[in-house]
Amino acid sequence: MVTREDVENIALLSKLFVPEEELDSLTQSMQDIINFADEINNAPASDEGFDNINNLSNVFREDVVVPSYPSEEILKNAPEQGEDHFLVRNRA
């Protein structure tokens, strides 16, 4: 059973602000999602050997260096940057 407190806690962990008036509807939505997942869990299936849809295992890279990106490219999408770093402002 999903409670309002669960939703508040998840919002806190995800650094999301949830207005008080949305809590009830979000709690219901979350409960619906969980119910749906339960439904899938209850579907009859043999769980023999199923791991992933492509049935792959041991996909590895060799330990060979490839050139990294220039820092300008890496920082291009940063909301803010300073001295070649990603910059996170203190919101407090």
Partner: protein
Amino acid sequence: MKYELVAGFETHIELQTKTKIFCGCTTQFGGEPNTHCCPVCIGLPGTLPVLNREVVRYAIKAGLAVHGEIAEVAKMDRKNYCYPDLAKAYQISQLYAPLIIGGYVELSNGRKIRLHHIHIEEDAGKLIHQHGDTYVDYNRGGVPLIEIVSEPDIRSIDEAKEYVEKLQQVMRYIGISDCKMQEGSMRCDVNISVRPAGSEKLGTRTEIKNMNSITNIAKAMEYEFERQTDLIESGGAVVQETLRYDDATGTTSSMRSKEDAHDYRYFRDPDLVTINVSREEVEALRAELPELPADKCRRYIGEFGLPEKDAQLLTKYRAISEYFDKACEGVKSAKTVANFIIGQIFRRTETESDKEVFAVATTPEQLNELVKLLDSGKIRNNLAKSTLEKMLDSGKGALEFISESDMGGVDEGALLELCKAAIEANPKAVEDFKNGKEKAIKALVGNVMKNSRGKADAVAAEAKIKELIS
């Protein structure tokens, strides 16, 4: 009431692979900020991580070196937390099916510190806090780590220090990490609690995060042990929390309050497939391991008859033990070789990092040759010692400094002449000796040794001199 300390460690060790765990960026330490990065390790949407094969191999070696069981099936999980050191807001780690289960580290007092498991994961980026803002460098983000999680088996600060040292030593031996605590390639989280001595029940623990030197680990544990004991004695209770140790004040302080205690919501990472480890691969990796320090130490004591202290000094670093092994080949007494290394060569490798590299001008083969000359009775100990000094200065072999005429001893008649000459040349020493200054005889013996170029037998010379002057 007497209290007992109970501690467990979570030790992070950076693996010395060439590339990061999920992309081909270099793992080199340092570098200009954000220059060892690519879309994978800064977590851009649409990228896919692919596991570095070498990380799995290194971790398996680490597991074997601490007697762990290598899982046949291992999986990667996401550990979710929102903090700027992780670009993706989750760290790829292992919780449900780690690569290595169990294992132990044996201490010199015979106690085994059991390991719960070892898992592989990615390192986070580096944060620099300035004027309330945070600057993020992701060069370290995605560098492969193993995390070695021990059981709460540690009972004293000395055991804690030895545990960390032993891990450091063995991981360096097998060549998977340099384990430099000051550079962050080895970091420890210490879980610590206290309980009345003799009690079986574990007390409430606190966790001291990110310790980066053995000295600080010891200091922080000492402080925390006192703090918790005082708290309980005064009727209070320890609160489970995460602490930071402040080196400057020597105290611990709370990092996270209970309200935002972490809830990592682990789940299987759907981007990464299962790792299956064949038993053949495990055996092949086991065969690649060098002789481990604990085994070497036992061999030096058991086979070579070395004192435990010598054996420990010679096995502390792999380079020293390999030098010693080579220098010992075919010699009569390994103890002689040990004495030369510990007595003379160690004086030229003063720092720990010098000892670790053990780049000495004299090769182990050259030392071996010198010891064999000594074994065969062709030269005496004094000459061997002074020759080794010259060898260490020059990198040349023993025979560069020892001529045919130096070999063989000094006969009775020659010794008598040498002693007479020494007495004549040092009237003051003779006088002092006669007046009861026993030590004065050393100057006379020294003169004999010098003039015989180390060939004379010092004990015989001393006896002869005494005979002549008394």
